[in-house]
């Protein structure tokens, strides 16, 4: 039989310059099936084909800078074809600004410090993901960190805006904390994955003296 219609799973841009779409093939109806990604741009009749099926791996289409415009909405479909016929996915509409999902922050450091009046606190610093950092004025990122005691259940999340450092005062002495950070473009787009888990042991004399 003709192949089942494929489904476009996701489109993502890591730095608002390029983007990639992935699809999931349906059943191949028992015959060798190939897939063609076709797209049109808002207000245009012209149909284009995927410029690069290779770079982002199987069942994907990579749009490089030249093919990425963020002034327009893309109407994307994927057609599965075998010798018995073909089937087309539902259309997937993409506005590049809304699909920006940066990579996680890097160079996360944790440091226990003592303030002037001997009061200890934790200082966290991090850097933007390399891809975004290069265009610092172009992609403005916001950060959120989460931490919890190692055996604790509930994460405590703290939104820190565009800062790349944060001071934590009220932590429990003697506890071992897990800390992670993620980031997101300041307007549209989605949160990155969390950075790898980092651990910090709060010493027992980390009491907030009155």
């Amino acid at each position: 039989s003709p192949p089942e219609k494929p489904t476009i799973i996701k489109c993502r841009s890591p730095e608002k310059e390029t983007f990639t779409c992935w699809w999931k093939p349906g059943s191949d109806g028992g015959y060798p099936t190939n897939h063609t990604l076709l797209y049109s741009k808002e207000g245009e009749e012209k149909i284009y084909e995927c410029p690069d099926y290779k770079t982002a791996g199987p069942n994907s289409c990579y749009f490089d800078k030249k093919h990425t415009s963020f002034w327009t909405i893309y109407n994307i479909t994927v057609k599965a074809t075998n010798e018995m016929g073909s089937n087309v996915s539902d259309p997937h509409y993409v506005d590049v600004t809304y699909i920006v999902q940066p990579d996680p922050p890097v160079n996360v450091t944790l440091e226990l410090k003592k303030s002037v009046n001997r009061k200890p606190y934790l200082v966290l610093t991090w850097s933007p993901p390399p891809l975004a950092d290069v265009r610092s004025g172009w992609l403005t990122l916001e950060y959120e960190l989460r931490l919890k005691p190692e055996e604790g259940e509930e994460w405590e999340t703290i939104f820190v805006g565009q800062q790349t450092q944060c001071k934590m005062f009220s932590l429990n002495p003697g506890k071992k904390y897990i800390v992670q950070i993620h980031c997101k473009p300041d307007h549209h787009g989605s949160w990155s994955e969390w950075s790898p888990e980092m651990y910090i042991q709060i010493p027992t004399d980390f009491r907030v003296k009155d």
Partner: protein
Amino acid sequence: LPICPDGSANCQVSLEELFDRAVKLSRYIHFLSSEIFNEFDERYAQGRGFIAKAVNGCHTSSLTTPEDKEQAQQIHHEDLLNLVLGMLRSWNDPLIHLASEVQSIKEAPETLLWKAVEIEEQNKRLLEGMEKIVGRVHTGEIGNEIYSQWEGLPSLQLADEDSKLSAFYNLLHCLRRDSHKIDNYLKVLKCRLIHDNNC
């Protein structure tokens, strides 16, 4: 927020979103233009009095652009949009040559070259966006007439190092100035057309 919830009937980027992106891009281009000017100034222009020669004006001086708040507020938005479009077009050619000629500067740092290439690319991108915005806003036919020819390539290729550096200084000074104008005018247009002058 689903994109085009009701299918592709009137599925397009809104004018407000187009302006948001244009302002963000023009801000980034001006940020880069200031950076490349400052970097060149610090490295090649200290104490050489290039500023005195820079007052001979820019290749876009022939475009009469608003020079204060009143003028910027009194000009019709279609004329101001056309001016921005004209300025962007007028910088297409010099930016192509800037990106290639920067490499001929003695010990030009990598960052100078990267910024020149990035500005050229983003300027083209902003031009694409402005043509889209003008297409949406314009009632009449989009006039192609606003354009200011740049004839500065020979001066960027002069054998005399001082004259050549002075030409680069002037071009980067004008780029910083014009990219700031574009950024400012786009903010005024956005506040006027999208936020009814209540930004």
